[in-house]
Subunit: 456 residues, 2 copies
């Protein structure tokens, strides 16, 4: 199917496609919160039915967490064997009061679909499925296709990691396709050459048995909130560099060719500030922002709380303080080592006389990168250039898709990570959205790639 | 009335006294939370009626906040003119799930009354009123009495501070009585010779326009939670000493006589740890704990929050972070100067590119202390020794009663600050309680003092 035929298919079926897309978005498949476990299961079954209708052989593989949906369809003997990875779970929707429409009641405003998961990753997964549908309907899908949809990407991918060895023994492909990333700018198709790894850690510091009167005890009782703040402050040095011992083991700088691609992207500090309300001054000051995002690790506070958080004031020394941390990994950093180093650092800086508690949320996975001389990257650049009439960008991204690295072992490390989100789509935040025009771009890219890719 | 007559009065009337005490405790007079404004007003009116029944002339004086109840009763010409100060507001009751019985439904367990305010300050105010009642009933109250009950002690005393000049013009007395403090140990009556001052400040640091994806932005966007933690960590040096410039102006060490009284108290680190679950290792390490509490300032985090605080993990850079601070003042520290210095310090250490917001909760007031050679302290020591058959202690306390310093100007600085709480009564915390036996001790002390004190 040529571009014009694909466009016609999309237009003819757009109303139905959006209806189905909305059905998928209505599932409250928040994997991190046990309250939504059934919603996750229902969502997985819905996708299983959808793939069966596309003549796939499907299986819901049980895991200790959410099931992994595996779907397979054989193609022609010489056609490439393509593996697709996506996820059906979403981030929590709070703070709810900042949503202009309810997060699980999708709504179109100004050509955008607003809902939790509209982009990440239900939207991008769904244009993939609709591209497959178009090709199947036209009997134009020659490639063999293995589709893997997991349900815990937003909470550490614990389930799929547990079954990874079994899963990999069943999969063998030429290239892994992932549609869970952004275009660097609107209208600029972007091949993601690297993704960061992820480690999560919650830390609770317990002080006095109960909240204490801050007058009667202030000056003799150490304050857990202050002590935790002090510990958090030790995680970075004054230059924004991580101060955890040995944390940079495995980190490398971009080589000259990678640097030249980074330069082509033309990062604009003004644009960043306009979009986000703050200048891009985090991290290590002397490094280029795109190097900081693509080639450097981070340790971020995602949440913290202690003591009285209501209206007015309350004169207490809180009995405990909690921080939720995540660390993005780059290069060849080992997630298990990094988590151990982070814990050791916190332990070392924690105050005497208080109890430190670590709550693990799973080791997410190492960073992932694609070789610059990959034949599939070369093919993708050609087809994207032709399809969108512009030179595609190569980007080393800061986000994480924990299992991409492990899954790509089934394709000898070959992967094409191309997505059609934008930073302004508010993923992981209130009012997440995805423009229907970009949903359609994704549909065109996938349908074209599934036909055009050749075995290397 | 002698001790035995007072005891008999208490026993005869105990059931009614407790019923009325419970009625007082049921008012949800949480002054810091606007949701409870009407409860505060209702509580003030209830106390006004109670004082009218004791033949006091009463007036509810309006303020910008909660009304101040002023009640006066003339005595014999040569009898001392005594001013009493108390407060009818209470601290917030959360965390509610840690209460064993509802905070505003008083309950007796093991001889203790459990309720928010059971001690602080409704309990101690109420035994004062019941002592007055006993003397009035026996026609044994010769002293002139002025009672001042305010409704914002737990939230900065803003209302009474606003009307302080007018109030003082109407009051003239020989000595100020305050019952809002603890015994240093059970059975050890304690005269509080000093109280710390108080300054409150809430700080919000605003970063990006919205919560950002911590992968796509980690390494370029500064994290408000981490930056606020860093700012909090700058408030103290590595020895636990406040690092705010000029903050110790007006601080003095205890003199030899004061030090000898502190030594008599016999502070026990083991006892402190047993009671509170943590060793008394806060504050400046090289100073004696009772000096740190009575003669040194503090800056405490009472609460802080940022980002995601629900179950599991959420990979965001929070858009803002908030901390609620209070500072206890000692010696001659000026509250207005201290607040300005604290703000200047935070401003200086705040990150560029973020917005810093200060939310004032009112300047509480300076520290207060009584001279060691006060004739009323001498009289109180005598009457307490006789009444309880033990040597009373002299203590410089860490808590604050913001307006005591200003009110004592009406009594030429003479004040007797004696109360019957204990650190284990959990004021400002879940399961606040007051033993009925100590309620009775307070009743005996007040009734005795009102009869025994002589004009100096």
């Amino acid at each position: 199917m040529h571009k014009s035929e694909l466009e016609k298919y999309f237009e003819t079926n757009e109303k139905r496609i959006l209806q189905e897309y909305f059905d998928l978005l209505r599932f409250k498949s928040i994997s991190t919160d046990p309250a939504y476990h059934q919603d996750c299961l229902d969502c997985a079954v819905w996708l299983q039915r959808a793939l069966e209708q596309l003549t796939f052989k499907t299986e819901l593989i049980e895991t200790p967490g959410k099931p992994v949906l595996l779907a397979e369809r054989s193609g022609k003997p010489d056609a490439p064997r393509i593996v697709f990875y996506g996820h059906y779970d979403v981030q929590p929707a709070d703070p709810l009061d900042l949503w202009e429409s309810p997060p699980f009641e999708p709504e179109i405003r100004n050509g955008r679909v607003y809902a939790r998961g509209a982009l990440d990753n239900k939207g991008q997964t769904f244009y993939f499925l609709k591209a497959v549908e178009a090709l199947v309907a036209a009997d134009a899908l020659d490639a063999s296709l293995t589709i893997i949809l997991e349900g815990e990407e937003e909470s550490g991918s614990g389930g799929i990691i547990t079954i990874m060895d079994t899963l990999r023994s069943r999969i063998s492909g030429d290239v892994l396709l992932v549609c869970d990333t952004d275009c660097f700018r609107p209208g600029l198709p972007t091949i993601v050459m690297g993704l960061r790894g992820l480690v999560k850690l919650e830390v609770r510091l317990d002080g006095p048995k109960r909240d204490l009167h801050s007058g009667l005890n202030g000056g003799v009782c150490k304050n857990p909130a202050q002590e935790l703040a002090r510990v958090i402050a030790t995680l970075h040095d004054e230059n924004g560099r991580i101060a955890v011992e040995g944390y940079y083991e495995g980190i490398r700088e971009p080589n000259a060719e990678e640097q030249s691609f980074l330069d082509q992207l033309g990062f604009s500090a003004e644009e960043y500030e306009r979009e986000n309300g703050v200048p891009p001054t985090g991290g290590e000051h002397e490094l280029h922002p795109l190097v900081r995002i693509g080639f450097q690790p981070t340790i971020e506070v995602n949440g913290m709380y202690a003591g009285y958080t209501g209206a007015g004031a309350k004169t207490i020394i809180p009995s405990s303080a909690t921080v939720k941390l995540t660390s993005r990994l780059a290069g060849k950093q080992n997630p298990v080592d990094c988590l151990a180093r982070l814990k050791a650092h916190i332990q070392k800086h924690a105050p005497a006389g208080m109890q430190l508690h670590f709550i693990d949320h799973g080791v997410g996975g190492p960073a992932f990168s694609v070789d610059l001389d990959s034949p599939y990257v070369s093919q993708a650049r050609t087809l994207l250039r032709s399809l969108f009439e512009t030179e595609p960008m190569l980007l080393w991204e800061g986000g994480s898709i924990p299992v991409v690295s492990a899954l790509a072992e089934s394709t000898a490390g070959e992967a094409l990570v191309v997505g059609f989100g934008l930073a302004s789509d508010n993923i992981h935040a209130p009012n997440e959205s995805f423009a229907i025009s970009r949903f359609k771009e994704g549909f065109l890219y996938v349908a074209t790639a599934l036909q055009a890719l050749k075995r290397a």
